[in-house]
């Protein structure tokens, strides 16, 4: 039953850091008793689309604000292209931030908002004009240049905020929950748009988000944060396929988690030994968890697989079907994603099998 030995999960060549642009080294920050950042170290490459992903309170916003200069870390260093950033006041950092609330100046028109940052660089008027026009063209707002922010829709405001940030041609653009204020449809559009823009303008993007789908669909690499610590840094596929620990496994995508013990060769649970394709843990004794993705599970006739159970629910999802299977001895029903419409009904006896499953540290919930 036990298949491959523990596989190593290094970032693949495509997602490996290129020339480092932003180097965050051992950054910690506490607010009284609350530790927001606990020794965070990250390296973000030139031209990368990087995401800081985590639940609220994981420290991602504090990290972003530290890079922009609105928070001072208690310890650690942040360097941009080799130069220390922490010694510079916010207005002298070559970093622009797109605020979650957009923070557009309500008393200025769209073009004045966008020109504001360039005017601070004391550029000639003609150049300011030209660059503002260009960037408004890029984000598709040229026609609305004279409007006030209050006269724009949410999506348009977001474009203004983006234009205002990229017109400065920063080396690094920080985006704080850039899509959270938009409704579903606009959000999907803007996801593509952000990706296209990042490609077009060649600026390094660092996006903070709590939405794993958003991070997965846009970012080249993702750092998953929890409790002020980096849990894993990897590309989207890597994070999903090879979660480093139980937190990442539970946070990214849907998974079936089975608690048990890993002795180095086999995984023992309350329902017997289960097949494992990869083990991401060092010590053998403590509690561990098996992560099985719903789409990796095959449904067969009773007795043919590794776990027998009864179908509890069948939900048609359009492209496929979600099947919940109650397995005696497991607390939660096993979730299985099947393409198409399987000939299954509530109460059918089935058997489950899989080839891909990862063992991670942690004892489940």
């Amino acid at each position: 039953m036990i298949e491959s030995p523990p596989a190593t999960a290094q970032p693949t060549a495509a997602t490996a850091p290129r020339t480092p642009l932003l180097e965050i080294d051992g950054v910690s920050r506490a607010f009284g008793e609350v530790v927001a950042l606990d020794g965070v170290s990250l390296t973000i490459a030139e031209n990368e689309f990087f995401a800081l992903l985590g639940p609220s309170g994981c420290g991602k916003t504090t990290l972003l604000r530290s890079i922009a200069g609105f928070e001072s870390p208690d310890s650690g260093s942040i360097r941009l292209g080799g130069d220390d950033l922490l010694g510079l006041p916010p207005n002298r950092r070559p970093v622009n931030l797109m605020f979650q609330s957009y923070a557009l100046f309500p008393h200025m028109s769209v073009e004045k908002n966008v020109a504001y940052g360039l005017e601070r660089e004391r550029l000639p008027k003609a150049e300011v004009r030209q660059r503002v026009d260009e960037v408004l063209e890029t984000v598709g707002l040229a026609a609305l240049a004279k409007r006030r922010p209050a006269q724009l829709s949410g999506g348009q405001r977001q474009r203004v905020a983006l234009a205002r940030a990229i017109v400065k041609r920063p080396r690094l653009l920080l985006l704080d929950e850039p899509l959270s204020a938009l409704d579903r449809k606009v959000r999907a559009e803007m996801q593509l748009e952000l990706k296209r823009l990042q490609h077009e303008v060649g600026i390094t993007f660092v996006v903070v988000t709590h939405d794993q789908e958003e991070a997965m669909s846009m970012a080249d690499r993702i750092a998953v944060l929890d409790g002020g610590r980096v849990q894993q840094v990897a590309g989207p596929v890597e994070l999903y396929r090879h979660p480093a620990n139980l937190f990442v496994a539970g946070f990214i995508g849907t998974s079936n988690l089975v608690a048990g013990r890993w002795d180095g060769t086999s995984f023992r649970t309350a329902v017997g030994m289960l097949p494992v394709s990869e083990a991401r843990r060092q010590s053998a004794d403590d509690a561990a968890c098996l992560v099985v993705r719903p789409e990796d599970v095959r449904i067969g006739d009773p007795g043919t697989g590794v776990l027998d159970g009864v179908v509890a629910d069948v939900t048609f999802q359009g492209g496929g079907t979600h099947v919940a299977v109650t397995v005696p001895g497991l607390d939660a029903p096993f979730r299985v994603a099947v393409p198409g419409v399987p000939p299954l009904a509530r109460g059918d006896a089935v058997s489950l099998a899989w080839d891909t499953a990862v063992v991670v540290s942690g004892s489940g919930r």
Binding site: F99, F105, H107, G117, R120, R148, A150
Partner: protein
């Protein structure tokens, strides 16, 4: 207007019957909420009707009446009082009153804005303490506080003592009974009315806008001039009006701290009513002040609207 079909006739043809009922329900709901608003406004409207509109109407009526031979008034429509108000003597009083009130407003602004800003930066509970302290002087009688200033400012007073003791002046100077003393008194009395609206405006200001300004490369000074000040300008204007209006009409401060040498329009109006028994002319002067203030409020409304921008459409 006349050749357009009535909306009621158009509706059923275009939308199904259910929608009409919905629309009617919506209209009824809107009417109900309008009625509710009206009910809630009633006390305020009554207050305005009896305590603002009536007195002003009365003053207006007096202002076109004629002074009675033996006191009192003879009703009529006599505009000669208005032309009398334009005589240089009275214009000069008006001008100097406006000057003193403007100066007091300006000084109050210079003190009030930094104070309000500092209070907004205090940690939560200290903010409340500071705001209470701003209002505390109102707990003491106005006249007592004015007499306190007389004690402070007179040539044997504490201010002279201090200046003399520090060697800044050799001879004691007459600080009291000057225009300066009047300005000091007005600033002192009305400063809280400057601080509170500015504080409210700064509190309401989204801090992220200031951060955004810094993030775009603006220095703190630039952020103040380009973002903070324009966005708190409505509060500044409210504060200025709240200080300017009562300063212009005040007659106790010029009397006590100005020693009667400084005649402001407030004193003039009071004298017309109480000493000269010329109610029509007093009313004219009062109307001039009222109209000037209405103009001011209009300016404030326009500026506020410009800053906050036109309403969102669609």
């Amino acid at each position: 207007m006349t050749n357009q079909p009535a909306p009621a006739g158009r509706v059923p043809r275009r939308v199904p019957a259910g929608a009409t009922t919905d629309r009617r329900r919506l209209l009824l709901a809107r009417l109900a909420s309008r009625r509710e608003a009206f009910v809630l406004l009633t006390p305020g409207l009554l207050f305005y009707a009896f305590l603002v509109a009536c007195p002003v109407g009365l003053v207006l009526a007096y202002s076109v009446a004629t002074r009675g031979r033996f006191g009192g008034v003879e009703w009529g429509l006599d505009l000669s009082n208005y032309s009398r108000a334009l005589e240089p003597l009275y214009l000069e009083v008006l001008r100097s009153s406006v000057g003193i009130a403007l100066l007091a407003t300006f000084v109050a602004l210079l003190i009030g804005y930094p104070t309000a800003y500092a209070i907004s930066r205090l940690p939560g509970r200290w903010r409340t303490v500071a705001l209470v302290l701003v209002v505390v002087p109102f707990w003491t009688n106005f006249l007592i506080r004015m007499y306190a200033w007389i004690v402070l400012l007179n040539s044997q007073g504490l201010v002279n003592d201090a200046l003399h003791g520090l060697g800044i002046i050799d001879e004691r100077v007459g600080l009291l009974y000057t225009d300066g003393a009047v300005v000091v008194g007005l600033v002192y009395v009305y400063l809280p009315l400057m601080i509170l609206p500015i504080y409210a405006a700064i509190e309401r200001l989204d801090r992220e806008l200031l951060e955004a300004s810094a993030n775009l490369g603006a220095s703190r000074l630039r952020t103040f001039w380009s973002v903070q000040l324009p966005l708190t300008l409505p509060g500044v204007m409210t504060g200025c009006i709240l200080v300017f209006v009562p300063s212009l009409g005040n007659f106790v401060v010029p009397e006590l701290l100005g020693g009667g040498k400084t005649v402001m329009v407030g004193n003039l109006i009071r004298d017309q009513f109480l000493r000269a028994q010329d109610w029509p002319f007093g009313s004219v002067l009062a109307m001039v002040v009222v109209v000037a203030l209405l103009g001011l409020f209009l300016v404030q409304a326009v500026v506020t609207r410009r800053i906050e921008g036109p309403a969102r459409h669609g």
